[in-house]
Amino acid sequence: MRRLNSAAELEDLRKEVLAKRDPQRPCVTVCAGTGCQAYASQNVYNAFKEEIASRGLTGKVDLRGTGCHGFCEQGPLVVILPSEICYRRVQPEDASEIISDTVLENKVIDRLLYVDPVSNEKIVKESDIPFYKHQERIVFGQNRFIDPHNIEDYLALGGYRALAKALTEMTPEQVLEEVKKANLRGRGGGGFPAGEKWEVTRNAPEKKKYVIVNADEGDPGAYMDRSLLEGNPHCVLEGLMIGAYAIGSDEGFVYVRQEYPLAVQNLTAAIKQARELGLIGKNIFGTSFSFDVTIQRGAGAFVSGESSALMSAIEGRVGEPRPKHIPTAIKGIWDKPSNLNNVETFANVPFIIDRGADWFRSIGNENSKGTKIFSLVGKVNNTGLVEVPMGITLRKIIFDIGGGIRGGKKFKAVQTGGPSGGCIPEEYLDTEVDFDRLTELGSMMGSGGMIVMDEDNCMVDVAKYFMNFLKDESCGKCTTCREGTKRIYEILDGMTKGEGKEGDIELLEDLSWVTVNASLCALGGTAPNPVTGTLRYFRDEYEKHIKDKNCPAKVCKGLITYTIDQEKCTGCGRCQKNCPEDVVEGELKSPMTINTERCIRCGVCLDVCRFDAVLVE
């Protein structure tokens, strides 16, 4: 590959790339994100490849394995461009039919279309699917057009134009001002203005400075950073380099979780290609700006996402937080000023520089600008990654994009902000989603996890689940975090087993207070949120567990019993056959009973009964 020595040469290359491409030429895009790969989308891709070759269509029909589209539960996803016909759950056997009918004759294959669970209508175009229609895909929007292993795809979409603009038309101060003006706030959870953070590192006295991408995404159920890094690695790199230019850094790190092999693979390929073109290296675009970047693979600890722990890990030490009375922006890796931003934060930067701060400020609400990617999961009809403008209401995300609650159940709460976030009840569904409002509600933006819960979720059980995660993931250094999370978990565990006692709630509140206020890092400082958040809105549920030994959602095994309705039971024996403990007693064709003494409350009988005869109380 050739080396680009100026911004003009980049534009020349872009023209060449675009000249080779005919926007009208059919292109089969197969999602190659982790979600679809789990559904074996690689086999689908291979089937298309064979089909195109065997029909002699090479050069007439393009094939592309793209980044994640977001609608992972419907995978493997195939979208035919330019018509945007979207097929879901595509199998390798479907490739031949799709080529002959859809690609060559523009006929839609009905059975592969998405059916809206709300209206029961079949939807042809990807952008008409409600899940996508109500989104505003900017940062995440390029994923579906890009093969992450092909830099030309990124260049075709205007890639590295922002970097060229920054390096050749703007001073570092101007770049900094633009990002500050855009009011880009940290997408990793804190919501701290990125521009201000950059400025602190820029103004730090040491000459050597580092910039770091935090890709140690570890919240259960959240994978937006993963999909961005896997699907559009150049965008993150470009943002990182623009940041480095503004800060005055010549060296960067991308700290990626060990558990994200595809992200590492795609990023490694992207760095190699960018380096070959001279987009990374010495004197980029012939300017005096030089930059290089190293991928640092995480060693598998949730706490390593915390800035000082992450930097310790990069230094080769145990990823454990250290006191930050002097911020890492001034004394970070090897005591040098180090700027750390999340994947999504950096991915926003090229758009801000390319389109301007005013454009960015036009999206979002008063104090939170731009878009945010959420991982929408739980009891909603449509799950996946969604990018929405800041300030959108929770109701819109859950009911318009998410298609409402599964199985016609009643919405109960939405958990945002990852394990240290909080649960927001129904009365706040019309709250605008932004950094400040979520915090006011006792939750937080976090990195963008959004778990929807219905009436069948017990809030004590939910709090227990997250506390179990946090007690395992605390580094164990501080007494308050290590013992505090453990004791909170034990109390919650006791409640769910019917061992709750008077004073437990007050003790939980005391433990939460001390863990929040006396721990060293933000993990301990937010760890009790699952408890304080649920106590704030669902205190009565805690009280019922303690005083009445009753779990209103009928989840906590220690507080429920399974019985069989003697009127409804037909004696079919299904429950008896499936019970793992053989505690369903009785003769076939006459009503059965459950031996509650020996019942382990697994719920299998309830699941298999066809006559609604199993009762839970």
Binding site: K486, W513, N517, S519, L520
Partner: protein, 239 residues
Amino acid sequence: MVTITIDGKQIKTEEGQNVLQVALDNGINIPHLCYHENLSFYGGCRLCLVEVTKANRTRLTASCTYPALEGITVETNTENVKKARRLVMEMILPMAPDSPKLQALASELGITEPRFHYEDPDGCINCGLCVRACEELVSANAITLANRGDTRSIEPPFQEEPLACIGCAACLYVCPTDCIKMEEKGNERRIVRWERKLEMKTCANCKRHFMPLAQIEFAMHKVREPLDAGWFDNCPDCR
């Protein structure tokens, strides 16, 4: 030099010195467990909590890791501090309920019966002093903090006999709960907690077993000026 205020008392001190040491040097007692003046600070036990006000913002923080900065105000005995310390101690005590030092500290803080219990406490409170003594003072690096979360513990590598341990007993000396025990029988020394067995040197004169061979070897290797080959033949008393 900077001026800081601790409990209303203005104190001049070196910038960056930790607040706990400044307080102790000036006769202000702050209870602490994981801090030792000859070792690096750690900030793990959270007992030395104080309220620091800097630029109109007050918060609870560990005094052992907080640097003396110009103009900061430190309060060591507010209601919040007392409440937090009590809760911290209530969490620490069950880990070493038989430790006299912890019992004394707990009763000073007004704790009679902690609300938490461990089934089978081994006395270790994960303060990490032994690890730092072994690493920073002795530089033997025989033990380390292992695992995370509530499985956190202090272990020799791979939970096997730590062959890097020279039996110097520095870990015993710094341990605030005395959970590291040493036994000596004949010419054998055992550091019980690490399951380390060491052969002792016998004094040529008085026949006392005075020092582990491993420690002698370590010392011979460490000293800059070569020692006489016979230096360790006799114990310090007979030398």
